[in-house]
């Protein structure tokens, strides 16, 4: 059967840190309102709201109960995924493909200044076997990097070059946090500048059945083994599988993608993704990342980071690039096709990939 095409109408991102003038719901309302304005759409016409939010990040034990109305759920068909924001976008697209909705709000947020996401990540580990070790999410990044280093050896200056490139791109992005926020304690062999720039982030997009210049070309989801210790942390097979599935949907190869926006909590995931996708030769992740102009143009997690907003933020960056509204990070030649990749907690057990293309 032929699924109905899905178009993107607009996107809005707000990035900040500890702005006490606004409550979380105020931020959500303002950003969704902005996305509607960018899309020339009105809430009255919206018939679907899909949000990605996490209770512990939000400090509200049933987040969507308090937060969903701020995204426009009033007497509407609203769904909350407890997942990365790119899953919300994929699900909202499925509703439109199914003919269940014509115009959907997609929103995702994380307000790192309100809580303690590093501590929160510690309780995601198995209480019998892993939690007693005091692990946090970032430690998986460190293990991932050490596994890569063990396999390929010290990459020399390329790690620093990748870090510098990332930071330069983040510095250029209009959607980056420019004030000091919070530093995480990074485990060896991670370096401080390879970590995430914690931020308060709300991303909202409007997608629908009505034609617009940018449409969804394909969607892919994939799942890895549950325990980080069982996984191929270097190869990230689920990332590759999600991308392959999205490309199959769009009936084009990876060569057709002009821009990659890849969520990773640290530089390590962002760079190793390039090997997983086959864009960089094994052992050359950081080198490729430093030189590639079409990867994480907005600086990735160095610009702003808080789960679970990130996959949707990457999709918004793709949308801006395709529609020529990316600002200072705009590629000289506006890309025709872009891929956003998002991931879930505990070392990216699941990945989501979405291909966008100019209609």
């Amino acid at each position: 059967m032929n699924a109905r095409p899905v178009y993107l109408h607009g996107a809005a991102t707000s990035v900040g840190w500890g702005d006490s003038r606004r409550s979380l719901t105020d931020m959500i309302f303002a950003t969704v309102t902005d996305a509607l304005r960018q899309s020339d759409a009105h809430m009255d016409a919206v018939d679907s709201v899909v949000i990605a939010a996490h209770d512990l990040i939000d400090g509200r034990s049933l987040s969507s109960m308090v937060t969903a109305p701020a995204a426009g759920s009033y007497l509407k068909d609203e769904m909350r995924v407890d997942e990365d924001g790119l899953v919300a976008a994929s699900f909202a697209a499925a509703r439109i493909e199914a003919g269940e909705a014509r115009l959907s709000v997609v929103a995702a947020w994380g307000r790192a200044s309100e809580g303690a996401p590093d501590s929160v990540s510690r309780v995601g580990f198995d209480p019998a076997f892993e939690k007693p070790l005091g692990l946090q999410e970032l430690d998986i990044s460190a293990v991932r990097l050490s596994a890569w280093l063990a396999r390929y050896g010290d990459p020399g200056d390329s790690r620093a070059a990748a870090t510098a490139a990332r930071s330069m791109r983040a510095g250029r992005s209009p959607r980056a946090l420019r004030v000091p926020s919070r530093d995480s304690v990074l485990a060896y062999p991670l370096r401080q500048a390879e970590g995430p720039k914690w931020a308060d982030i709300v991303v909202a997009m409007i997608i629908g059945a009505a034609p617009s210049p940018v449409r969804v070309g394909g969607v892919g989801h994939a799942t890895d083994l549950p325990r980080p210790g069982e996984r191929d942390l270097v190869g990230m097979p689920a990332l590759r599988q999600s991308a392959e599935m999205a490309l199959r949907g769009s009936a084009r190869g990876i060569d057709s993608i002009d821009l990659f926006e890849i969520d990773g909590m640290t530089l390590v995931e962002e760079a190793l993704a390039l090997e997983s996708l086959g864009l960089a030769a094994p052992g050359h992740a950081f080198e490729h990342y430093a030189l590639a102009e079409n990867v994480n143009r907005a600086g990735g997690s160095a610009a702003a980071w808080c789960y679970p907003a990130m996959g949707l933020m990457r999709l918004a960056e793709c949308f801006h690039q395709l529609s020529g509204t990316a600002g200072a990070t705009q590629l000289d030649t506006a890309p025709r096709r872009a891929m956003a990749i998002g991931s879930s907690p505990l070392g990216a057990q699941t990945h989501t990939a979405v291909v966008l293309e100019r209609a």
Partner: protein, 159 residues
């Protein structure tokens, strides 16, 4: 799982854990002003939606129904109607000692109701107290002697 190597009387382990994370909830400008009005002027304020014209109490930045920002601040009366209530009669960890009454009150002039404790009700007989409160009685706002800019700066009492 049945296994000859596994003794039937294996002790089932429970591992203690806790779940405490610190947050600082940003009330934002709207709720901050609402609390400032409580603390400094001892009055309850609402915000009006310019579309449906409802006066929302407590004050809201935006109207969830119309999805527009509210447009003006207005005080509401000190008296109102107790719409719905419950008498919490059992002890729960982290909660005040029972019995106590929680209710939603529509203050005069407001179009929505606000939750708070209802005090001064004779709770010696829970059922009798419950039946007496079903009549949607009138209540009055009573401010605490010490206000700190929180919702618990006031409660309601039967008139």
């Amino acid at each position: 799982m049945k296994d000859v190597h596994m003794p039937n009387d294996v002790e089932l382990i429970t591992i203690p854990g806790n779940w405490n994370f610190d947050y600082r909830y940003f009330a934002g400008e709207t709720a901050s002003r609402f609390f400032a009005e409580l603390k400094n002027s001892r009055r309850i304020m609402g915000t009006r939606c310019g579309k449906c014209r409802r006066l929302l109490v407590p004050a809201r930045t935006f109207c969830e129904a119309c999805y527009v920002e509210t447009v003006s601040w207005e005080p509401v009366g000190e008296e109102g109607t107790l719409e719905v209530f419950t008498i919490v009669a059992a002890a729960f960890p982290g909660m005040p000692p029972p019995p106590f009454v929680i209710g939603y009150v529509t203050l005069d002039g407001a179009d929505t109701s606000i939750a708070n404790f209802i005090k001064g009700v004779d709770l010696s007989d829970i059922h009798a107290a419950g039946k007496s409160l079903l009549s949607r009685p009138r209540v009055r706002t009573v401010f605490s002697a010490e206000v700190q800019g929180r919702i618990t700066d006031f409660h309601f009492e039967l008139i």
